[in-house]
């Protein structure tokens, strides 16, 4: 029996959005157990929310996450509207869906780029982030800010979309279709991506249900849930789109689901914008108070369902505000998917649930080996992942005449990352 060692990834998060501490228990190269430690990012937002009034609460939950920064507000205002029986004008619903889907496009492109980075596919990273800027430009046009849009409020939205802006947005969206098709081909038809992600980190449908997995993570496993369809809200019941599912639950399927969802998002936005040309009226019902009661709001964020529960006692502040982000349910599935895999693959598996690992990685990997103690950094883990890719390239004869040596790849674009 080989010796069991613990490989700590983190705590200053490795591949994760939130600083999280993964302890990979390994025997040789094989991961046999995963222990996850949270808490480096706990800010006590649920408690803070009780000291803010309902409009400030929206502002607060927007700061939960910088990538889902309109998903939390949408879910929050829906919970307040459910609690207080507040009606929302139809035009506001279309604007909510528009902003929400724009955010999904930028979030999925962000994930796609970083997933490429972890596979040593840095071209994909730079291209994906370059076209993500175009989405941010649209968001800046619509909302006035690149992130943290400040669009939602109980009873509607804060800003209307100007009629003169709609053709501009549609034209910008049109320009995104070709790049997204390029990403689809670059990922789905690339033999190397197949070799690195097919059959890796499989989450079975049964495990997805048991862990309550959400969003693309669940849909890649054939667990067909999408809050936008199952519990219609905003404008999703009024436009035509499809839920994307796959069946294998591996890293490849998770990527495929996300890429194909980009096309659906563009479809939804185009329909919403066309509707905005005809649906006129106010965008805000301007509620004066929230009646006593309790309400639930949920919204399909890029990573899965965001859940908000609000209880009101008739005052202007929530008595209790519960927030559940999708990664809360998705991250524990790593305990199943990473088992039996190698350390080189763990990088992409831990990243595949898209826990918004947008921050740079800081990790120290200490392996107690009989020969002594060795420290690995994030760069080393990514280098290991890159090396595996290049080995596969050699085996399959895919490597070009002058392949970039892995060390160089590790020092040009991603030195130290």
């Amino acid at each position: 029996m080989s010796k069991r060692t613990i490989v700590p990834i983190g705590p200053y998060h490795a591949l994760q959005e939130e600083p999280e501490f993964f302890k990979l228990h390994v025997e040789g190269e094989t991961v046999v157990h995963l222990d996850i430690e949270l808490g480096y990012n706990h800010r006590g937002i649920e408690k803070l929310s009780e000291s803010k009034d309902f409009e400030e609460t929206v502002f607060l939950v927007e700061r939960i996450c910088g990538i889902c920064s309109t998903s939390h507000p949408i879910a929050c205002v829906q919970a307040v509207e459910d609690a207080g029986d507040i009606c929302v004008p139809e035009r506001a619903l279309f604007i909510r869906s528009t902003v929400g889907e724009l955010e999904r496009i930028h979030s999925h492109l962000l994930w796609l780029g970083l997933a490429g980075h972890f596979l040593g596919f840095n071209t994909l990273w730079m291209w994906a982030w370059r076209f993500r800027e175009d989405v941010l430009n649209i968001l800046e046009l619509v909302t006035g800010n690149r992130n943290h849009y400040g669009m939602m409020k109980p009873g509607g939205v804060r800003r209307d979309i100007n009629d003169t802006d709609i053709p501009v947005i549609i034209k910008l969206l049109e320009g995104l279709k070709d790049p997204i098709a390029m990403f689809r081909d670059a990922v789905i038809e690339d033999p190397l991506v197949h070799a690195r992600t097919r059959g890796i980190g499989v989450l079975t449908r049964e495990k997805a249900i048991a862990y309550g997995a959400l969003g693309p993570t669940a849909r890649a496993s054939g667990y067909d849930i999408d809050v936008r369809r199952d519990h219609p809200h905003a404008a999703y019941g009024m436009v035509d789109w499809d839920v994307i599912t796959c069946g294998n639950g591996d890293v490849f399927d998770k990527a495929v689901v996300r890429i194909l969802e980009l096309f659906e998002s563009i479809r939804i936005i185009e329909q919403c914008l066309n509707q905005l040309k005809t649906v006129t009226g106010p965008v805000d019902s301007d509620p004066r108070f929230v009646a006593t009661g309790e309400g639930i709001g949920h919204y399909e964020a890029p990573r899965g369902e965001v859940f908000h529960y609000v209880r009101s006692d008739g005052s202007n502040r929530p008595v209790r505000h519960k927030v559940r982000a999708p990664s809360y349910m998705n991250v524990p599935t790593n305990r199943e998917t990473v088992l039996g895999e190698t350390i080189a693959d763990a990088t992409i598996i831990l990243a595949a649930v898209d826990p918004c690992y947008c921050c740079t990685e800081r990790m120290a990997v200490a392996v107690d080996s009989p020969g002594g103690r060795r420290l690995w950094g994030a760069q080393d883990l990514i280098r290991m992942s890159c090396e595996k890719t290049y080995e596969l390239m050699d085996e399959s004869g895919l490597r070009g005449p002058e392949p970039p040596p892995c060390a160089a790849a590790g020092q040009t674009r991603d030195s130290g990352r």
Binding site: P11, Y12, H13, E17, P19, G39, Y40, N41, H42, R43, G44, I45, K47, L48, S51, K52, F59, L60, R63, I64, C65, G66, I67, S69, L110, G113, W125, M126, W129, R130, E133, R146, N147, H148, C356, C358, C359, T360, E361, R362, G377, A378, Q379, R413, S415, G416, R417
Partner: protein, 160 residues
């Protein structure tokens, strides 16, 4: 301009530490490195360890668990280094300062604050350029090199 400052302000190696952030500042930092803004053309790169870094970028508030790690990191940082706080959180704590898990930050020699929630990549670039300019002109000295202020309280008398 001393040799040290000259060396420090060229080709900055940046280490990025997100405390309990909402990640938005972190994305904007990465955005500044990707093709549209492409700070890497000026030799500004992210490094994986504080031991290789010239600049420490802070973002987000620091909660009780994170503060411990921040203190450990500052000890490891090679002098001279710059500390730049990105966003409003490290400066004031914003709306999180009343939280039960918020801990007042340790006294860090922060050289520059780049405000915004989040600051745009242009603002980050502008902030870094301003700091470099001020250092070269000698208008500021890196906070880590400044003499700690004399302790105003008298040293306790030796007990005999």
């Amino acid at each position: 301009m001393t040799y040290t400052i000259d060396a420090l302000t060229k080709s900055l190696n940046v280490f990025h530490l997100a405390g309990s952030a909402c990640n938005n500042c972190d994305i904007e930092i990465l955005d500044a490195l990707t093709p549209k803004y492409d700070l890497e053309r000026f030799g500004i790169t992210l490094v994986g360890s504080i031991r290789h870094a010239d600049v420490l970028l802070l973002s987000g508030i620091f909660n009780r668990k994170a503060t411990v790690r921040l203190k450990e990191l500052l000890v490891q940082a090679p002098k001279p280094y710059l500390v730049i706080a990105i966003g409003g959180c490290p400066a004031t704590g914003l709306m999180f300062r009343d939280s039960y898990n918020f801990e007042a930050p340790p006294s860090i020699p922060i050289d520059a604050f780049i405000p915004g929630c989040p600051p745009k990549p242009e603002a980050i670039i502008s902030g870094v350029v301003t700091v470099i300019g001020a250092l070269r002109e000698g208008a500021i000295v890196p906070g880590c090199l400044q003499e700690p202020e004399a302790n105003p309280q008298p040293a306790p008398e030796a007990v005999t």
